[in-house]
């Protein structure tokens, strides 16, 4: 995994994940978390108007039609971010400083995530990132992002 002098390696994320607040999958979100358990990131696209969205919903926010799932490429960029230096809640207290970011998928939708695998100081707006996922249990994985590997 990606060693990181400032902490926040993908190994550290995996180690802390079971102690983090986790999603309670429901009728709509279930496939999203199941896909992450398989290593995929999904987004939604409207079959009627083409609008793409995250977070997943039971309707297209543009036209109210039921959206369809699409598999994301896993490529994206940092739209904005912060370095959390103080969080009194465990397990985050011991993980700080860490990066909370809004990543824009190359397909358009955005999601909150952590950018791991590099020093917080190296994260910048526009930075190319790639998705990875960590499986927590059957049917539940969580997507994270790290600096894009150089091809």
């Amino acid at each position: 995994m990606n060693p990181d002098p400032a902490g926040g390696t993908t190994d550290d994320v995996a180690a802390s994940l079971g102690r983090r607040p986790l999603p309670l999958p429901d009728n709509v979100s279930g496939p999203y978390w199941e896909a992450a358990a398989r290593g995929e990131v999904l987004y939604q696209e409207c079959p009627a108007c083409g609008h793409r969205q995250l977070y997943p919903r039971a309707l297209c926010t543009a036209c109210a039609v039921e959206p369809e799932w699409r598999r994301a490429s896993g490529r994206g960029s940092v739209h904005t971010f912060t370095v959390i230096r103080q969080n009194w809640a465990e397990p985050f207290r011991e993980l700080a400083p860490y990066v909370v970011a809004i990543v824009e998928l190359e397909e358009g939708p955005r999601m909150m995530t952590n950018v791991t695998g590099c020093a917080p100081e190296d994260v910048h707006i526009g930075m190319p990132v790639e998705a990875y996922t960590i499986a927590v249990e059957e049917g539940l994985g969580v997507p994270f992002w790290r600096p894009a590997s150089i091809d």
């Binding site: 994940l17 607040p21 912060t82 959390i84 969080n87 809004i102």
Partner: protein, 393 residues
């Protein structure tokens, strides 16, 4: 519209603060109500409309509107429990003004009370939203695993604004410095010692790029506002303050859904409030803006039209926000230095009314005739704008 039914604010009251361990949340409502009645001369039995948000047991509990009405003994024929975070009170002003004009009720009370500091301490901004190993339902499940905190949400807006427009930490700091200067004039402000831009940018980084002194205080406190008709105000104690224009707008709720991290619903809620009031930003004598964080003020100033988008940094650095400047901000010391018990919207209305009555003491803006209050609820999510005037429309 009948001029007799023009909505006016006739009563304001603050409970004890900013540190009031002798009061619980409900008592803050009670003390503020009693002081607003004394201030206005309104008889309690004449109140026939009521609004509150997050009343009673906990500042995070939005479900106790009816219990609070019962506790206070309000026989209402109009009720509003809109809960959109700290700007709920500007939304109440919008709704109450319409209800009074329409004749649905004659005299509306809004109350707020919180013992946040004495009950929970100072952890609201950086404790996370969820418990360890919690399973989080609903839309929040998409943010829960990532350890964001309240301050982090605003920090991501500040980071993007700096990226797009070159806004600097020093420019944001000037907002905190101006508000602290005003807090020095208020004996009830939590922090009154002067600070400099250097103090702000050298204070501890909490969530980049926001420092400790970019963040509001945590306090106890409560407030009450009474709104009625211009006709009824003639028999009351205080000069009426006219509700000239109100509007609200929402762009998102959770921060990850914010469509443009450099812009808020104040663009829509400002334009609409100005249109209804028939005035422009250049006419406003003082602004009471939701200063949860310095970036909140910067975005609201731009979106309300006090300066062009992206120019907020230069605008605030000019000294415009200080008493004596062209647009004095948060003359009570704001959330940044005076009072922030979890939701600050009612204090914006109260300070705007004090200014327009010319009762603001050493913080009085000379000849203040038009004031704008703008609340931001959630995570820059729900914006309510209230334009108040000393003169009838």
């Amino acid at each position: 519209m009948s001029a007799a039914r023009t909505p006016v604010i006739v009563g304001i009251g603050l409970s004890d603060g900013p540190v009031a361990p002798h009061l619980d949340a409900v008592q803050h409502h009670v003390v503020a109500l009693r002081r607003a009645l004394e201030d206005s001369g309104v008889r309690k039995a004449d109140i026939d409309g009521y609004c509150c948000a997050g009343a009673g047991k906990s500042t995070s509990d939005p479900d106790d509107l009816a219990p609070m009405a019962e506790y206070l003994g309000i026989e209402h024929r109009w009720l509003d429990g809109t809960m959109v975070g700290g700007s709920s009170f500007e939304f109440f002003a919008q709704h109450a003004a319409g209800a009074i004009r329409d004749g649905q009720c004659d005299t509306v009370l809004m109350t707020y009370g919180s013992d946040l500091l004495s009950r929970q301490g100072r952890t609201l901004g950086s404790k996370g939203h969820f418990g360890r190993s919690a399973r989080v339902p609903g839309p929040a499940q998409y943010e829960a695993p990532y350890g964001n905190v309240l301050i982090g949400a605003y920090a991501m807006a500040a980071q993007r604004h700096m990226h797009e427009y070159g806004t600097t930490p020093e420019q944001l700091a000037e907002i905190a410095v101006a508000v602290r200067e005003h807090a020095a004039l208020n004996p009830d402000a939590l922090y009154r010692d002067p600070i400099t831009v250097d103090d702000v940018v050298s204070s501890r980084m909490i969530a980049d790029p926001l420092h400790k002194l970019d963040c509001c205080v945590i306090s106890d406190g409560g407030g009450a506002v009474i709104m009625t008709t211009a006709e009824r105000a003639r028999d009351l104690r205080q000069p009426p303050v006219f509700v000239l224009g109100t509007a609200g707008a929402q762009t998102h709720w959770q921060i990850s859904e914010m469509p443009d991290f450099t812009a808020t619903g104040a663009a829509a809620a400002g334009a609409e409030a100005f249109r209804r009031a028939g005035v422009t930003p250049a006419d406003i004598d003082t602004v009471q803006l939701y200063d949860s964080f310095t970036i909140t003020v910067l975005l609201l100033l731009e979106d309300l039209g006090f300066c062009p988008k992206g120019e907020g940094g230069r605008f605030v650095a000019s000294g415009a926000l200080r008493l004596g400047g062209k647009l004095p901000l948060n003359t009570d010391g704001g959330g940044l230095s005076c009072t922030h018990p979890g939701m600050r919207g009612i204090f914006l209305l109260i300070e705007a009314v004090r200014q327009l009555r010319r009762q603001a003491g050493p913080a009085q803006v000379p000849d203040a005739s038009l004031a704008l209050a703008c609340g931001s609820g959630g995570w820059l999510s729900c914006i309510g704008t209230t334009i108040l005037g000393r003169d009838a429309p």
